[in-house]
Amino acid sequence: MSSLAQKKGFGSVLWDWLTTVDHKKIAILYLATGGFFFVLGGIEAMLIRLQLAVPDNDFLSAGLYNEILTMHGTTMIFLAAMPILFGYMNAVVPLQIGARDVAFPFLNSLGFWLFFFGGIFLNLSWFMGGAPDAGWTSYASLSLYSPGPGIDFYALGLQISGAGTYIAGINFLVTIINMRAPGMTYMRMPLFTWTTFVASALILFAFPPLTIGLFFLIFDRMFGANFFDHTMGGNTIIWEHLFWIFGHPEVYILILPAFGIFSEIFSLFSRKRLFGYSAMVFATVLIGFLGFMVWAHHMFTVGLGPTANAIFAVSTMAIAVPTGVKIFNWLLTIWGGSIKVTTPMLYGLGFIPSFVAGGVTGVMQAAAPLDYQLHDSYFIVAHFHYVIVGGVVLAILAALHLYWPLMFNQMLDEKLGKITFWFFFLGFHATFFIQHFLGLMGMPRRVFTFVGDQGWDLFNLISSLGAILMAIGVIILIVNIVKTIVQNVPAGTDPWEDGRTLEWAIPQPVPFYNFKRTPLVRGLDTFWIEKQEGNKEGMSYAEPLSDIHMPNNSFIPFVMSVGLFVAAFGALYNGEKTWAVPVLVIGLGITLVSMGVRSWKDDHGYHIHKEDLMDDKGGKN
């Protein structure tokens, strides 16, 4: 945040945030909004665990439980984990490759606001007739049957926020392909950039099928189509396929950036080059590719027939190989290094055994006949929380500590950070390890209660107690954040002292135009190379100081997103309220007109002149 912003009035600060197209600010927006949704999803998780702590509990009613369960899964995946990762990508990737900004700053802002309004829309369902209740997978027979507007909120909300994700995906792809600084060849890109790249490619190909599936659901529920109504010739299996064609790549969209974050952490805090860099890159791409060929492993019990099951079982197992390559390369990175256990590193060290445990249960589920037993039992719940919480969430928390100084020029408190880690980590294992056994002992998932004395009582209680430890961890984290912001001690450049990649070379606080002069990249871990060679500045430059071109701020992304938000209400009440269709039309109109305005005007941005760059303040803000 530039110091100028603080002198402005509240109104203009707000305006600045609403119209910003600066990737660093959009990163903060993503992080804050995603963080909010993470706490929301976490509170929903706590309600789930409270309800299941004891048998025959009537703390939550059956219907309400299903709503909370659905919103927990949906919120965590779409509104918390993915956006927070986008936040880090936005904050780090352009700096890491030495770019001025992302390729499409305007679209970057549009992507954020679409996500934002989609998430708000989805959560308004709580106050407007009930939340969706068919699980985050929203299988078609139940989602068509489900009364009330909940499922409509789900379909429309995800459609809007999905559009935002799709835009963000294309944006990162183009940024990484076109905007790398001179010398930053593909095989010199830091792993976080690589994983962002592959995850974005997955978004590019995985979100269209979801879009189509959601359209079918919307048309079926609101506009009289018959895609999933079997009495009219429809077929619910189509939804299952479309959902999982999206859904499986989605989990890799989450885990790959997490892998990237840990790759940075291991090499940074071991003071060592990443072991087997090219194998790591290759494994990343391979995981991305295989990720599209395995979706039916979520459908082993649907009755697809032995041939389909066998093919998908074997292709699923294959993913263990490239993932294993990554694990072993990480181990060999810390092997022979100089390991400093900072908070981010602590998360990294917690990640390895946790994720491996989650990954291998995934391979067990890939054995189709065994999955007939495991599917839709608590074993599955245990598996995916091990990979998601033990992988993605640990990465999110690690990156929060790692990149906080980069984003805010402050250090989070290390001591509190480590306390958070231990609460969260122990709580996590207590909560989910035991769920493997619950599953094997016959407990199905998505049950709002269970009858006592089936051998499940104690394990469920332990699981719930573990969740409380996690919550304590999160609360300490929030305390840490508040404390750090209030104290506001500048962290300075290269706060972890062993920074290896370009983002650590940039002066703090980061100027809004990023690098004054485009850096020249001379190898993998370019900052490290420069430092080792005794370059005080820590950077070589590719060009002399010259004018910098900057994009203009714009309010249009916000307005476009509001338009879709409004239109969604029209679609939702179609056929029920007379004002529905006009509202739909007005909403779409707002979006289209603002698109037209954007297209009609020339927007060439502005330049910061060389002379202004010479004095330290930098150009206009």
Binding site: N178, M179, P209, F216, F219, D220, F227, D229, G234
Partner: protein, 210 residues
């Protein structure tokens, strides 16, 4: 600023659409978008193939009964769209020659052909609805109208886009900035044609064969 450069045919770059970073970004971004669109349409095709001829018990419509008669119409639509693809190539040809009038003229022809296609499609849909084969009639009808209709929506968007470009640039003329916009729009238009090739093959021709 570069945008104010007054080009002459001699100074006009060979690839105006990718003459600067902004152009290259949009160019690449748009191609990636088309990659995503491929998957989008693949999902629609897959669904249509799974649901074609599926309906409530005793449904009288099949692809054969519906599309056999209309083949000449579909042929005509195909011709219109194919030709419009060529005319948009002409527009790009003139763009590379720095001939703004040529660009506008051929884009206009493209629009007219596209409108012709659209009218025929509306006529066709209307015909089916009159037969009783409306959107809510069956899974078959839903998947048919959604697949072909999504293509139709793309046509509408493409036309709207091109018209808007012609209007907004009427005064501005050609620059690297505007050339890039025309180029992307024409890519989009070709892609619409590509999709149509599959639609007439998979939906109509293979449908008629049963």
């Amino acid at each position: 600023m570069a945008e104010e450069i007054k080009y002459t045919p001699q100074t006009w770059p060979e690839h105006p659409e990718t003459a600067n970073l902004e152009g290259r970004n949009k160019f690449l971004g748009f191609w990636l978008f088309l990659g995503g669109e491929t998957v989008l349409f693949a999902s629609l095709f897959a669904t249509f193939l799974a649901l074609k001829n599926k309906g409530p018990e005793g449904m009288e419509f099949t692809t054969q009964s519906l599309f056999s008669e209309g083949l000449p119409l579909v042929f005509l639509m195909t011709m219109l769209l194919l030709t419009s693809s060529l005319t948009s190539v002409y527009a790009m040809y003139h763009m590379k020659n720095f001939n703004f009038r040529g660009v506008q003229t051929w884009m206009a022809v493209t629009v007219i052909l596209g409108l012709g296609f659209l009218l025929l499609e509306i006529y066709e849909f209307n015909h089916y609805v009159h037969l009783g084969f409306h959107y809510s009639h069956s899974a078959f009808s839903s998947s048919f109208f959604t697949l072909v209709g999504t293509h139709g929506v793309h046509v509408v968007i493409g036309l709207g886009w091109i018209i808007l470009l012609m209007l907004r640039n009427a005064k501005r003329g050609l620059s690297v900035y505007t050339a890039q916009k025309y180029y992307t729009a024409s890519l989009y238009w070709h892609f619409i044609d590509v999709v149509w090739v599959f639609i007439f093959t998979v939906v109509y021709l293979m449908g008629v064969m049963g």
